[in-house]
């Protein structure tokens, strides 16, 4: 598309003529990122003042011009490519850190504050920001949130979304919202995280900052097999010992890295773990003993601790040099990203190695063993078409492997343009349809970063939902019947919290089974109608526990739908729900990281049954006893805003799913 001179003039009037670039070079240089995707926009608008973002978006919305927000453009999936042309919004000048409040534990920043700059500003104050993506020295806070890129420390401190307290968000129509996780109604902030700028712009962020641990100790352990190393990590988590990070590499990678960086890694080790513990010295000593004991139990070949800062630096040198080692080999490096349940890592990695060998490409294999996230780094020369084809095939097959092992096609790199096709393998037709509806609700004119995430032609490519659970199928057909007959429904768990005297109650009571308590991955799967107290009793019997409030008398689904326990909500990794039209949708699973598609867990959180009926939840559990004393949060009434109305209209145009707590909603 071409932008008319009149619109260009208006843009120039708004931002200043020097900030609207239409020359050949600027267009070519703002159409790429770290991936292979290149699409030239029609103009580049550099924004120096955050206050101009709203009028800018309003103008673009009025003129129906697509726009692509661009920060550091370090992503590996083509999220910054202007596939449909339009305007690239260069937000990099908005890099201020407005305020750091150590007493209340937050930092306020402009969208493109560099993560590394924030860390540097916090360090002298004795604080730190938990997410640490590998590119943190150059990547920005809003970019990290838009991709939900969290780095190695998310095992202990949660992902970027969990570490963001609130944001100022500009919808594609130019309306500004302040979004918080704990506000009544759906968790919009959680939904925006990982949406890759397809739902709107982030104008300002408030992120959580934590006191820096006084001591950090780093260990190196080598194992005779990948399975043994992964089992060690599972055992660690089972013991309630959550390391600051657990980085791992296989033998081929260890050899390549050692030859390049000489970090002192044993080349004969089949698997290598770099484990870091933090906290006070007393606890570190105790944990180090447990760690060594578990490593020895799993047959580790070597176990060594870094005694000095220099030794610690040397251990990390190798891990950090992994990308450089590959970048020196060939002109291009394709960095893949997939996540599988931790227990599946050894089998998945073996399969990935097989794919790499079969496609005849050279690759290193690094993984965050704690969260099942792995990054194959494949080197190639883009000038060689045959090699490039083989690399694309290898990446595609690797992602398919992830899906086969119950994983996701993106742990933290996002979907962008390059992984759209494999989304049809991971998600059912109904789920992708829901993603499309969410996008349409936020952005009816498809202007915000268009043609990303949702695969083209998924109606043919994706398979329909394969749910076989009779209770879920029965509920689904009942909802479908009501949808056809336009009969309203009020979703209820035990009707203890969202009390309703309606005659149209649709009870979750048949969904009363605990489906799985998986003590390898430390995840549990339960149906939404399970009573929280029954669930806690069952977990106790099995020697596990979850972060659930003991005094809550209702069901698990009710707890999530009414946002009764904020801490537990951040533990949910997978969800199944039935939409008002009877479609069964599923998102996530036993995954510590998932950046593929819109986060449906967060959409249904606090939705009070207005957007769909939660049927199944997957969440983290622990081997050690958890604190259950927290009281359930009071039920807050929610006045639907424009975001809610738009999503509700897409998902439930006839307003059939009703809820007593949402004021002003049309009954």
């Amino acid at each position: 598309m071409r932008i008319s001179p009149r619109v260009l003039k208006e843009l120039q009037r708004l931002l200043g003529p020097e900030n609207i670039l239409t020359d050949e070079i600027s267009l070519a240089l703002n159409g790429y990122d770290c991936s292979q995707s290149r699409h030239r926009p029609d103009a580049v608008a550099t924004v120096h003042n955050a206050a101009l973002l709203e009028p800018l978006v309003c103008l673009l919305a009025r003129e129906k011009i697509p726009f692509v927000p661009r920060a550091a453009a370090t992503n590996h999936a083509g999220s910054c490519a202007a596939v449909q042309g339009g305007v690239v919004l260069n937000l990099n000048p908005l890099d201020q850190i407005y305020q750091i409040d150590t007493a209340r534990g937050f930092a306020d920043t402009a969208p493109c504050a560099v993560t590394g700059d924030l860390q540097a500003a916090l360090a002298p104050l004795g604080f730190f920001y938990a997410p640490d993506p590998a590119s943190e020295k150059v990547s920005t806070l809003s970019g990290n949130l838009a991709q939900n890129a969290s780095g190695a420390r998310c095992l202990k401190y949660g992902n970027t979304s969990d570490n963001t307290l609130n944001i100022e968000f500009i919808s594609p129509s130019g309306e500004t919202f302040v979004l918080r996780h704990d506000a009544p109604g759906p968790d919009w902030l959680g939904l925006i995280a990982g949406s890759e700028g397809t739902l709107g712009l982030i104008k300002r962020l408030r992120v959580k900052i934590l006191p820096a641990p006084k001591h950090v100790k780093t260990f190196l352990a080598t194992f005779p097999s990948l399975a043994a190393s992964v089992q060690t990590v599972s055992d660690l988590v089972a013991r309630g010992l959550i390391p600051r990070c657990v980085e791992a590499m296989d033998q081929i990678t260890t050899r390549a890295v050692e030859d390049f960086a000489h970090a002192g890694y044993p080349k004969d080790a089949q698997a290598l773990l770099i484990i870091e513990l933090d906290g006070d010295i007393k606890h570190i000593k105790q944990d180090a003993q447990t760690l060594e004991e578990l490593c020895r139990q799993n047959g580790c070949d070597t176990f060594a601790a870094a005694r000095t800062e220099a030794e610690r630096e040397k251990l990390w040198r190798g891990r950090r040099a992994a990308y450089s080692a590959m970048a020196a080999l060939a002109p291009n490096v394709a960095v893949g990203d997939g996540t599988v349940p931790r227990s599946e890592l050894p089998r998945a990695l073996a399969q990935v190695r097989w794919v790499i060998d079969r496609c005849g490409v050279t690759a290193s294999l690094l993984f965050h063993a704690g969260d099942g996230n792995f990054h194959p780094q494949i080197v190639f020369d883009v000038r060689n078409p045959d090699q490039t084809r083989r690399v694309s095939r290898a990446l595609h097959e690797i992602l398919q492997t992830c899906v086969r092992f119950g994983g996701t096609v993106s742990g933290e790199h996002g979907i962008g343009v390059e992984k759209r096709a494999v989304m049809a393998c991971q998600y059912s037709r109904e789920t992708l349809r829901l993603f499309q509806k969410i996008k349409h609700a936020f952005d009816p004119d498809n202007l915000a970063n268009p043609s990303k995430i949702i695969p083209i032609g998924f109606e043919e490519k994706a398979s329909p939902c394969t749910e076989t659970d009779p209770e879920v199928l029965a509920l689904s057909s009942e909802i479908k019947r009501r949808f056809m007959q336009k009969t309203p429904s009020v979703i209820a768990g035990s009707n203890s919290r969202l009390k309703s005297a309606s005659t149209h109650i649709l009870s979750a009571a048949p969904l009363h089974r605990i489906l799985e308590i998986d003590k390898t991955n430390y995840m549990a799967v339960a149906q939404a109608g399970v009573k929280v107290q029954d669930l806690l009793a069952e977990l106790k019997m099995q020697g596990a526990d979850a972060k659930l409030p003991k005094s809550y008398t209702g069901t698990l689904g009710g707890l999530v739908a009414s946002k009764a326990a904020a801490e537990f909500i951040s533990q949910i990794t997978g969800l199944q729900a039935i939409l008002p039209n009877g479609d069964v949708v599923e998102y996530g699973g036993k995954l510590m990281k998932n950046a593929a598609g819109y986060n449906l867990c967060r959409l249904f959180t606090g939705s009070a049954g207005a957007l769909g009926m939660i049927t199944k939840l997957t969440f983290k559990i622990y081997a050690t006893a958890q604190d259950h004393t927290a009281k359930p949060q009071p039920l807050l009434s929610f006045t639907p805003d424009n975001l809610f109305r738009a999503v509700k209209k897409e998902l439930d145009p006839d307003g059939l799913f009703r809820t007593p707590v949402f004021e002003g909603e049309k009954k």
């Binding site: 600027s26 703002n30 540097a120 150059v138 450089s324």
Partner: protein, 432 residues
């Protein structure tokens, strides 16, 4: 006169630790990971992709692939090229250690831009081609300055003209009491051409003509070490950056020949106090990669090049001022001198202990390699950023690896934050 046609093809090889490559090959090795972006002072001022190292690389790639036309984009390409400080911080941050400054230089050469005011370029070129005339011209210029001609020009407002701003800048940074190295040698009766020399000393331009303190300190250091021979010949760096590539190669070849003759079979080490020249000499194997007959000699020579940090005492001695906080500015030009910076850091840590402040992740960068003469507003902004950084950390002395960077930073500090001083690393030892 017939206008030179823009062409990026050249037999010159560029590269770093990964080896010598053609320009096109080297640019293709950029994976666009953007790890370089926050290290680029020019990007931090402009915040636009075209002004980032990644953007500059892509411009060279697009031009080489003929995907964009040079003529229709010349103004932007010129500005993007002009604003690159050639500081090589991007190379230090790059996973593949790509020589981005070399890419920009190739573009400058292809377009015929050198960004140095013509009279200054002609005058400085004389230093390499006609050293005696250069020295004869220097003396009256010094005298005129001492007599107040520059001050008169300042008052008249003539130095505000963009064509003459470099004179004003040079007057700002060059100490008034200048004395050339040769004069100091004469005065101190030092013989720098003994027969039993163990080391060859290639003096920096700053030590020779601009900063007498630096010259005295380096001579003091040399006196305490083995006897050495003064090599008063150009390295070829000036021509490599600003002038004729063929002349630069000729000067480099001359240096290799002289070294071979003087060093004989002993292969004497070559010492320099200019970090820019050190980086350039270390880069000789890549420079001569396309010339097989010179390559072996260049590699042998590069292995013998030393920087002053190799000779400075690592044990604490009586320092000129051990009080207050001190920092290191490792700014260089073209190629990052990480080994020299690491040694300097170690030395400063030993000398100053806890008073040494790490500036690992900051925007601290000074302008090395004489580029400040041509930058205008950007120079001032960068200089102010540096001063702010020094003031924020309450640093009292900054040691620079580059003599010119030390002069630049010291001038800015004198003006905006006189509590701190900037000096060359060799000046950390007690002054003679």
């Amino acid at each position: 006169m017939k206008k030179k046609k823009f062409s990026l093809s050249s037999p010159l090889r560029v590269g770093g630790p990964a080896g010598a490559r053609s320009l096109k090959e080297s640019v293709d090795y950029c994976t666009r990971c953007n790890a370089c972006v926050q290290s680029c002072p020019s990007y931090l001022l402009h915040r636009e992709e075209a002004y980032s190292p990644r953007g500059r690389n892509q411009i060279v790639r697009l031009l080489a692939e003929r995907k964009i036309k040079f003529t229709s984009n010349a103004p932007l390409i010129k500005d993007v090229t002009r604003t690159c400080l050639l500081c090589a911080r991007c190379t230090a941050a790059c996973a593949g250690a790509l020589p981005m400054a070399d890419h920009v230089l190739a573009l400058r050469r292809a377009a015929g831009w050198n960004f140095l005011p013509a009279p200054l370029k002609m005058f400085l070129r004389l230093h390499g081609t006609r050293p005696k005339i250069f020295e004869r011209l220097l003396a009256p210029l010094r005298l005129l300055r001492r007599l107040g001609l520059v001050r008169l020009l300042r008052i008249s407002g003539l130095l505000r003209l963009s064509a003459l701003q470099w004179i004003r800048h040079a007057d700002d940074i060059v100490p008034r009491r200048g004395r050339s190295l040769q004069k100091i040698l004469k005065k101190q009766k030092i013989n720098l051409s003994p027969e039993n020399a163990d080391i060859l000393y290639l003096p920096s331009f700053e030590a020779q003509y601009l900063n007498a303190e630096q010259a005295r300190c380096i001579l003091h250091l040399l006196k305490s070490k083995s006897p050495c021979i003064l090599l008063n010949i150009p390295s070829g760096l000036f021509e490599y950056i600003y002038g004729d590539l063929a002349l630069s190669l000729a000067q480099a070849k001359q240096l290799l020949t002289v070294w071979n003759k003087l060093a004989g079979k002993r292969k004497l080490p070559v010492l320099t106090d200019s970090i820019e020249v050190y980086g350039f000499l270390k880069h000789f194997p890549v420079l001569f990669a396309a010339y097989p007959s010179w390559h072996k000699r260049a590699a042998a020579f590069a292995a013998k090049v030393l920087f002053v940090t190799d000779l400075l005492p690592t044990r604490p001695t009586e320092t000129a001022a051990a009080d207050g906080l001190c920092a290191l500015d490792a700014s260089s030009v073209l190629y990052p001198a990480e080994d020299a910076a690491a040694k300097a850091r170690k030395i400063l840590k030993t000398h100053f202990g806890k008073n040494f402040v790490e500036c690992e992740y900051s925007r601290f960068v000074t302008l090395a390699g004489g580029l400040a003469f041509v930058r205008g507003a950007q120079t001032q902004e960068t200089a102010l950023e540096n001063v702010k950084d020094v003031a924020r950390r309450q640093i009292t002395q900054v040691y620079c690896l580059s003599g010119l960077a030390a002069l630049e930073l010291d001038a800015a500090l004198r003006r905006h934050y006189p509590q701190a001083r900037a000096r060359h690393i060799v000046q950390m030892q007690a002054e003679p």
